[in-house]
């Protein structure tokens, strides 16, 4: 079994700060971490790998990312935690990609791996973009079934995966045949810590860094050129009004709140 886990480097969530003067996000590349949802995805993949190992079946986990060269550091950390290989798609041609162009790049990366992917695992969404589009778009691009918002892995029998997913109405237990794409909720698992042996071993593992040309990507479909959407304007939202202060002691405040609540619920 070959599992590909897609990971994205995102600003460490506690580090996201706005510059009050320029109203831009203060970002420091060195603070990037693996998107927490993708970290859960990696744990799910490693769990399947453990089960395969227990059953004597071969299983390989590859972490895949599109990003700046520094992302290699994060992929190496994934390997220290138990992944086998890493592939980083890094090229100026990938820059400025929206979800469609990102999906295309990732699909090219998967297509160029020496072993086909039986299962592709993505986080349900990224904390910085919050579109939740990559998983379902990737499934469409690969023409494989997709299960989103996986809450729990129930088991894997042969090439059939049993999963619990969240839906608009509640939860469903579903079954899907591989190959497939799944996206995982953040609390579906907790990523294991790297072992010292893992960290040492990961230092020696070569991480493949490939350009758009290396993965035979059509330049018209990557990066800014391949992105149908574009941001035309970004602005700081104006607050409609300052918060109205409710004064007095607790009892007086509560009395005022009762009226405000009634009004709000009308």
């Amino acid at each position: 079994m070959h599992i590909v886990v897609c990971v994205k480097a995102v600003p460490s969530t506690t580090e996201v700060k706005m510059d009050p003067k320029t109203n831009t996000i203060v970002r420091d590349g060195r603070q990037a971490v693996v998107n927490p949802f993708d970290a859960t995805g990696l744990e799910i993949a490693l769990h399947i790998k453990d089960e395969c190992a227990a059953a004597g079946d071969p299983c390989r986990v590859t972490v895949l990312s599109m990003g700046i060269p520094d992302t290699e550091r994060l992929l190496r950390d994934c390997i220290a935690r138990g992944a086998d290989d890493g592939l980083l798609l890094s090229d100026r041609a990938f820059a400025g990609a929206d979800t469609l162009a990102t999906t295309y790049a990732l699909s090219r990366g998967i297509a160029c791996m020496d072993e086909p992917a039986d299962l592709v695992v993505c986080g349900k969404m990224a904390v910085d973009g919050d579109t939740a589009q990559i998983g379902p778009e990737l499934a469409g691009a690969l023409d494989v079934p997709c299960v989103v918002d996986v809450q729990r892995l129930h088991g894997i029998v042969g090439s059939t995966l049993a999963l619990e997913r969240a839906t608009d109405a509640g939860r469903e237990l579903v079954e899907v045949d591989l190959p497939a794409v799944i996206t995982v909720a953040k609390d579906a698992a907790q990523l294991r810590m790297p072992s010292i042996a893992g960290v040492l071993a990961a230092e020696g593992v070569p991480i493949a860094v490939k350009t758009a040309a290396d993965v035979d990507a059509d330049p018209a479909r990557t990066g800014l050129s391949g992105s149908p959407t574009q941001v035309v304007r970004s602005f700081v939202p104006e607050r409609a009004s300052e918060a109205v202060c409710v004064t007095g002691d607790a009892a007086e405040q509560a009395a005022a709140l009762v009226e405000l609540i009634e009004e709000a619920c009308r």
Binding site: Q133, D168, V176, T229, Q230, V231
Partner: protein, 403 residues
């Protein structure tokens, strides 16, 4: 060739672009005997921060032109995907979208179509409700394969229709299902998709849909367009637009279509379980959210009691989930659930940026915190400075006395 284009004639060399750039994608180059000018470097990621920062409009991101105007002009009409619930009723978000799309279709002078995919036993009056909400036309497909919400099956259906009828725009509710379906359609039609829009405007002359959504936790709003691909597609959270008053005198056409016989679901549903913790907080109309400021776990029952008195669901901030006080399903914020209640009462929530990212949709937000400078007040409608336990107890008293 796409890229960052800097007009060196206009550039005054002020360096604001360099400061605004988080990825060292632009630098100042000094030339002999001339003022410095900005120039892109190899690490530009086209985020547009420098474009906004430039005081003299010297920077632009240029893209190759895509489809020709004639090609774009062959698309017309706005579609709204009308999701139905387990009982077969159209979800409120579909009606909300029709209300907004009606105004957009009037600006453009085009037809507004609702897409209704449902099982063979669905109620017969959904079409009427969609027309009453503003649709000119309802395209309906009744098929057993559409009785279960399988996003891939629905995506094939929507894509086949879109290829045949060429709509200019398709809007979806940002429900769990809508957020799975829309990307499936986008990738198959190779078009753009903007998630979770809060503002939709349409240029009457060009038909260009301006889709505005919060970025970076709601601190920035970004307006996104899809200039050279059709259909333009967006998802919109429930509660963002007001549902229109149904106009039962409106008339519209109903067109019945069939689903390609080759389409088959590939995900098998073995069992279903309705949400156990009541409604999801994402759809809650009233919400009480507690933060670390409530002090101790022993104050949780008080918050629950207040929620009950208000007929509200209960939510919390991330530290409370991490301390094991409440389950993750209750976590509001960037890594939890985004909420859009009519009434939000937050108790002892300081207002970390990641939390604020999830509450932007609240209509009326009453925040109680003992710190008058807490960031939560920046996002609140009403500011109550005080001990949140005392205020909650007093409020509970007043609410109790009312009954």
């Amino acid at each position: 060739m796409s890229g960052l284009v800097i007009d060196t004639e206009r550039c005054v060399g002020c360096g604001r672009c360099v400061k605004a750039c988080a990825s060292a994608g632009v630098e100042l180059v000094r030339r002999e005997g001339a003022r410095p000018v900005a120039q892109p470097t190899g690490s530009c990621i086209f985020c547009g921060a420098c474009v906004d920062a430039c005081p003299v409009d010297a920077i632009a991101i240029e893209k190759d032109a895509g489809a020709s105007e004639a090609e774009l002009a062959s698309y017309s009409g706005i579609w709204v995907f009308a999701q139905v619930d387990d009982e077969g009723r159209v979800l409120p978000v579909a009606l909300e979208l029709l209300g907004r799309a009606r105004a957009l279709a009037d600006v453009r002078g085009c037809t507004l179509t609702a897409l209704l995919g449902e099982g063979p036993d669905a109620p017969q009056d959904n079409e009427r409700a969609l027309v009453a909400a503003g649709a000119d036309e309802v395209i309906v497909c009744r098929d057993g394969r559409l009785a279960v919400r399988d996003a891939e099956v629905f995506a094939h259906w929507v894509c086949d229709l879109a290829r045949a009828c060429r709509p200019e725009a398709i809007l979806y509710g940002a429900t769990a299902f809508g957020r799975e379906l829309a990307p499936g359609v986008a990738v198959r039609l190779q078009t753009g998709l903007t998630a979770d829009c809060t503002v939709l405007e349409l240029d009457g002359a060009t038909g260009l849909l301006q889709q505005t959504r919060p970025a970076f936790g709601g601190n920035l709003m970004a307006t996104i367009v899809c200039p050279a691909h059709r259909p333009q597609m967006a998802t919109v959270r429930p509660g963002v637009f007001a549902a229109p008053e149904p106009d039962w005198s409106r008339t519209g056409t109903v067109r019945t279509v069939s689903l390609d016989a080759a389409v088959a679901p590939r995900v098998r549903v073995l069992s279903r379980e309705a949400a156990s913790h009541g409604r999801s907080i994402a759809e809650a109309e009233r919400l009480v959210v507690v933060g670390r400021g409530i002090g101790s776990k022993k104050n949780l029952p008080l918050a629950r009691e207040l929620a009950r008195a208000l007929d509200a669901e209960i939510g919390c901030t991330r530290p409370l989930v991490e301390s094991g006080w409440l389950e993750y399903a209750h976590q509001v914020g960037q890594t939890g659930v985004s909420v859009a209640p009519k009434l939000l009462v937050s108790l002892g929530v300081s207002g970390a940026i990641q939390h604020l990212a999830g509450i932007g949709g609240a209509k009326v937000h009453i925040a109680v915190n003992d710190d008058p400078d807490a960031p939560i007040f920046g996002a609140a409608t009403y500011k109550v400075v005080g001990d949140c336990i005392e205020v909650a107890e007093a409020l509970l008293d007043k609410l109790g006395a009312q009954r």
